[in-house]
């Protein structure tokens, strides 16, 4: 018995040693669902096919990404290799020294025509808020979807219609946080887009936004996870909902739900890769990132989900949906027809005011 046990332990030890000599495990943290699936197909699978020694482990905890990266770095126990983050969180993490600074031209592949990476990513996206720790992958937008069978005659087409309970009665769904909602409320209340953040910087401006939200408060179902609003729309629980455009696309095109997009005042945001400070195998991480963020890979991701690749050189390569065969270009938030009235989101302003407005918003919400 004892002999069996010890020989098993030795064998396991040998196997482990042999395994670690060859295989590299990369733990990549992302958002799960259709989004991770698109990264799996566009990035992970081809990378693992080309590099037999690399094993990619998906972790779906990106929603707690910032908090967990902070916990891992502070306790000197970094188990994540690459994390998918929105730009605002990357600014915070970079400011606090939790994630690595990146030199785009040595870390990232140039465009096929030789343009260096620093000039090939959309202007400013490599340095959100003046930081330099972020590798953008996609441009996504938070915008509205509505049920096409909810209203007779005119369909909603502007942000003001979201707040118009008389013309478009029915429940709405909004994200349970102040970001975007306060801006949309002011826009619907007639504030010019350029003045939104100046208005919100005053107490009266915040109260004005909340007063506008008061007009629909009783009719709002508040969501916290990206998968909720398309589900609420599909169930007929609400007639309009703010949501990530890719989730709405999936409900509309892949699941044939009676939902349409309302692109007015959509808010662009960036999603990209960051690397925690103290990552174990930096060379393996860099090799993966070099591959996964090149022009073709970013364009490939758009075959599976309707988020726009963050490189200029990827845009012309965006083709048809991998399964449905439909042209993906008109579904991209960056398509000129959809992007006529985008709202410019201010990360830096929110980094300053988030703590205060969270309290104000949650107080308003609870009462």
């Amino acid at each position: 018995m004892r002999w069996l046990l010890s020989s098993t332990i030795v064998a396991a030890g040998v196997a482990l040693a042999a395994g670690s000599a060859q295989a590299v495990d990369l733990t990549i943290v992302s958002w799960g669902g259709a989004y991770t699936a698109s990264q799996q197909k566009a990035y992970h699978d081809p990378y693992m096919a080309a590099n037999a020694d690399v094993n990619i482990i998906n972790d779906d905890n990106a929603a707690e990404g910032l908090a967990k990266v902070r916990a891992q770095v502070e306790s000197n126990n970094v188990t994540w290799d690459i994390v998918d983050m929105v730009a605002a969180d990357a600014i915070t993490a970079c400011d606090e020294g939790l994630i690595m600074e990146i030199d785009p031209d040595t870390w990232l592949a140039p465009a096929p025509d030789g343009t260096p990476a620093s000039e090939d990513f959309f202007a400013g996206t490599l340095s959100p808020g003046g930081t330099n720790c972020f590798i953008p992958q996609i441009v996504y937008s938070t915008t509205f979807g509505y049920r096409t069978d909810a209203f007779e005659g005119d369909q909603p087409s502007t942000i003001a219609d979201v707040f118009d309970m008389e013309k478009y009665p029915g429940k709405r769904s909004l994200e349970r946080r102040p970001i975007n909602n306060l801006e949309w409320a002011l826009l619907a209340d007639g504030v010019a887009p350029a003045d939104v953040y100046a208005t919100l910087s005053t107490d009266e401006g915040v109260q004005r936004a909340l007063a506008k939200l008061d007009t629909i408060k009783d009719q709002v179902v508040w969501w916290t996870k990206g998968a909720q609003p398309p589900q609420l729309l599909a169930d007929g629980e609400v007639v309009m909902a703010s949501a990530y455009n890719g989730r709405l696309f999936s409900a509309i095109a892949e699941k044939n739900q009676p939902i349409a997009m309302l692109w007015d005042r959509q808010v662009f945001d960036l999603d990209g890769w960051v690397v925690p400070v103290g990552v174990k195998d930096l060379e393996a991480v860099k090799a993966y990132l070099y591959f996964a963020t090149d022009t073709q890979r970013l364009a490939d991701q758009a075959k599976f989900i309707s988020y726009g690749p963050a490189r200029y050189s990827s845009a012309p390569l965006v083709g048809n949906h991998a399964d449905l065969g439909i042209d993906m270009k008109p579904h991209m938030p960056t398509d000129p027809n959809n992007a006529a009235t985008i709202f410019d989101f201010d990360y830096v302003w929110w980094a300053d005011h988030r703590a205060e407005l969270d309290e104000v918003f949650n107080t308003w919400l609870a009462k």
Binding site: A63, E64, L66, A67, R70, T92, C94, D95, E96, G97, G129, G130, K171, R177, Q207, K217, V220, V221, W222, T224, D235, G236, E237, V348, W349, A351, D352, H353, R354, A355, E356, D358, E359, V360, N362, T363, W364, L365, A366, K367
Partner: protein
Amino acid sequence: MSTAADDTLRTADGVPLKTSLRRATARRRVRTFLLVVPILAFLMVTFVFPVVDMMFRSVDNQIVSSVLPRTTLAIQSWDPGSEELPPEFVYEALVLDIQESFKDKTLGRAGRRLNYEKSGVMSLFRKSGRRAKRITEAPFKDQVLAIDERWADLETWQLIHQESSALTESYFLSAADLRVDYKGEISWKAEERRIYLFLFYRTLWMSGLITVFCLLLGYPIAFLLATLPPRHSNLLLILVLLPFWTSLLVRTTAWIALLQSEGVLNDLMVFLGFISDDGRLQMIHNKIGTFVAMTHILLPFMILPLYSVMKTIPSSYMRAARSLGASPFTSFVRVYMPNTVPGIGAGCILVFILSIGYYITPALVGGRTGTFISNIIALHISETLNWGLAAALGVILLALVLLLYFLYDRIVGVANMKLG
């Protein structure tokens, strides 16, 4: 030869029996202790240490003085009540601190800390970090003021002065909807920012009501379980335990499917003509949702202690009461129920304590009006990263539980509680 020493009993090898006994019990005590060492170590590492660490975070304020060591020292000589900006040497200290911490990438941490007290400090620090590199010689004050006019704002300096000590009370004050100014005067926060006391209050009264619902629903079931013949009661017990073994998320989501306005219950009522199609009832994403789902999820924690107590009450008690002339109702209320008090106490305290710390169910079905304090703690842990405030709220919640447990002990007596 009859001295006192010779009277003592001795063992075969001449040691006094008392000493020998003491040694033997000491040895046994050590052995017992060694046996519990693993579980004790486990509890220390996984429970006591994290709790203490969390409690410390609620007052820990070393971040400002460790990132800006020179400034926090220099500013002590400045009177925050004066109408004048700090003198030149404070600005010199600030420039040196900012340059160093910007290089080490720690400046952002101090900026975030101070931003909790005053919006805008975060971007002020970030901007200053980038620009302060160029400042190499006097006059420092003028060059710092040229970076951003907020450095000429007395409030900025009052805040740094106030937060330069290693411990802070501001998280606890904030958790009680209070704020403290540079003079040390405590006042209420602005009306539109008072949220935490309201949420504590809501958590407590809703948990209390959930406990009452659980008791009202659980008592008859436990009684049935304890009095039915085993054949039937075993089946019933499985029906009680089955949901207990089902995933929490599944049960919560099932309530959403049942209660939502296009859900099963509303559909049924519309079909039967009780309500019109436009008048569907809102039974989820509000208080009702939290009450229903939480009562269902916590019900087994009420039934099981009640059942285990009722099981031990001999049926002859009731028969005796009846034969002495009590009506069935009187004998139940006067004889049976007092015997179940230990079970009621255990069930209620179990359900209540589980309920006030509950997080996932209120988050999913509570909507705007049915969420608890734990949901805001989660927000501060994972989204706003204000761990100090989250820790302060957690400590208050822990203190509340301990206080209630203490009150319960004084009124009912913990010794009377029976968990099974």
